[in-house]
């Protein structure tokens, strides 16, 4: 993501530039805001916390899956992009897409 050059300095931005001299933290904040101008106003707030609470959520609807399989017949179902993080839209997860959740049958290497 390329760094975006800030617009002509307003009074607020002037203060921010002054702060850069005194606070490394504020300098880092300015850097971040330059890269992600749409970053939420409430940093530690709801969005971030809610994402934390939703850890582990995986969506698979067997009805959708079977309907899609029936419709497509022999054709392949639309597969996920290799670097997907969330399942959305047209993509119907297949058993191959979901990571295998098998318990470790191997003894820990710490005990080796």
């Amino acid at each position: 993501m390329s760094a975006e050059v800030p617009e002509a300095a307003s009074a607020e931005e002037q203060k921010e530039m002054e702060d850069k001299v005194t606070s490394p933290e504020k300098a880092e904040e300015a850097k971040l805001k330059a890269r992600y101008p749409h970053l939420g106003q409430k940093p530690g707030g709801s969005d971030f916390l809610r994402k934390r609470l939703q850890k582990g959520q995986k969506y698979f609807d067997s009805g959708d899956y079977n309907m899609a399989k029936a419709k497509m017949k022999n054709k392949q179902l639309p597969a996920a992009a290799p670097d997907k993080t969330e399942v959305t839209g047209d993509h119907i997860p297949t058993p191959q897409d979901l990571p295998q959740r098998k318990p470790s049958l191997v003894t820990s290497k710490l005990a080796g």
Binding site: S23, P24, E25, K26, A27, E28, E29, K31, L32, K33, R35, L39, P43, G44, G45, S46, F48, L49, R50, R52, L53, K55, G56, Q57, K58, Y59, F60, R101, K102, P103, S104, V106, T107, S108, K109, L110, A111, G112
Partner: protein, 437 residues
């Protein structure tokens, strides 16, 4: 003067996810050391009896028992994947020949019994030695079965399973000083259990807002007071610690004490709240103090003073000018733990580049050491490390930009009585000892 003692785990750099160590804990005597990993396995090491002849080092830790504590699950009702990663292990004080520990993943706590078997009965009348039944008509004489010694076998069995009490992810468990009850804490709630009762638990803290849109903070850690069985604390993602007294009411939503350091509003930045989030809280053995770990520092609080910590130690202040990158690579959300030594005079916590830090509360001196296989001859004294924040880097110093942020030491433990420490890198366990003599 700290010396290398042992290192456990694979040498290769390609780390399997299951091998990532997620918790380390000594038992109350220090004789046993337990580790939990992301693959849901527990490995317990036992210190060998001290060899009186080799008095220059204390006993080594060898594998005592290993078992699969938790397995991955899928909650079909909520479409939720439940990781088998062991979040915490806590030992019960020893009451009889067997050892007991609690281990927990995100959703389920288990009580494990670890027992030794070193003799077996032989000489049955109705059974052969291999277990086959004898024809009763061939029995002409009777004998009394006797116990004969056998090779030591250590068995782990799950004695209690405490399930279905947490909607959110369990981050802490803590055994009460009454040795009968314990608490488990998730992001929004804390439950009180009796060790004998698995089908019921009492909710003692609930910070879930009626409207989840209003959620502003979560519980990050919780611990019972070491001596007062009615007192516990819990820390939050906003950098506060609440002390609660269970005698005051059944639901401890109103704290008895609120520990919070005032913040200068002009210093506030986007990162302020994130780096103030407390990742660990630990009472001192004395019960007079508690220690908290946030992203950049360790703070010691006197339980009698709520408005500020009595001591603050900077772990890696040089990272303050790197917060932007640390936010982008998610390192800013790393949860470091901290621990006290047996006499509460020194505290320890981990950092990046496989560095860990110790702060002596009396001398006010601190030291940075590295867990690395480079100095792995027993009794090699560890060389102190130094990070150069900016400007001219001296010889032997490491510049901030050369630090490996994938090598994090999140979990450390200190032997309750001796100067022996266990330090976990991503997939290796290091044991260091203070130089004797």
């Amino acid at each position: 003067m700290w010396c290398f003692s042992q290192v456990k785990g694979a040498v290769d750099d390609d780390v399997a996810e299951a091998d990532i160590i997620s918790t380390v804990e000594f038992n109350h005597s220090g004789e046993l050391l337990a580790t939990g990993d992301k693959g849901g396995r527990v490995v317990i090491f036992q210190q060998e009896q001290e060899n009186k002849i080799q008095s220059h080092s204390r006993g080594e830790y060898n594998v005592y028992s290993t078992f699969q504590s938790h397995e991955p699950e899928f909650d079909y009702l909520k479409s939720l994947e439940i990781e088998e990663k062991i979040n915490k292990i806590r030992w019960l004080p020893q009451k009889n020949a067997a050892q007991f520990l609690l281990s927990t993943n995100d959703k389920t706590i288990k009580l494990w019994k670890i027992s030794e078997r070193d003799k077996r009965p032989e000489g049955y009348n109705l059974k052969e030695e291999d277990g086959r039944y004898r024809d009763p008509t061939t029995v002409t004489t009777l004998r009394v079965p006797v116990f004969r010694p056998m090779d030591l076998m250590v068995e782990a069995s799950p004695r209690r399973i405490f399930a279905n009490a947490h909607t959110y992810h369990i981050n802490s468990i803590s055994i009460n000083s009454d040795y009968e009850t314990y608490l488990s804490a998730d992001d929004l709630r804390i439950n009180l259990w009796h060790l004998e009762i698995t089908d019921r638990s009492f909710n003692i803290v609930d910070i879930k807002p009626a409207n989840m849109e209003e959620l502003t903070e979560v519980i990050t850690a919780a611990e019972f007071h070491p001596n007062s069985c009615n007192t516990f604390v819990y820390s939050s993602s906003k950098g506060t610690i609440r002390l609660c007294d269970m005698r005051a009411s059944a639901l401890c939503d109103r704290h008895s004490k609120l520990f919070e350091e005032p913040e200068d509003p002009s210093n506030r930045s986007f990162f302020s709240e994130i780096i103030s989030s407390i990742s660990d809280v630990k009472f001192s053995h004395s019960g007079r103090y508690m220690m908290t770990r946030d992203y950049l520092s360790v703070k010691i609080w006197d339980l009698n003073m709520e408005n500020r910590p009595v001591e603050t130690y900077q772990v890696h202040e040089y990272l303050r000018s790197k917060l932007c990158s640390l936010y982008e690579n998610d390192c800013i959300f790393d949860k470091f733990e901290c621990c006290w030594n047996g006499s509460d005079s020194v505290v320890m916590t981990g950092s990046y580049n496989n560095f860990f830090r110790m702060f002596d509360r009396n001398t006010k001196r601190d030291i940075t050491l590295e867990a690395s296989r480079e100095n792995n001859k027993p009794r090699t004294v560890l060389k102190p490390r130094k990070v150069c924040a900016s400007g001219k880097r001296k010889k032997d110093e490491i510049s901030v930009d050369s630090l490996d942020f994938n090598k994090k030491i999140l979990h450390t433990a200190w032997h309750p009585k001796e100067n022996i420490i266990a330090v976990a890198t991503t997939n290796n366990l290091y044991i260091f000892q203070d130089k004797v003599n």
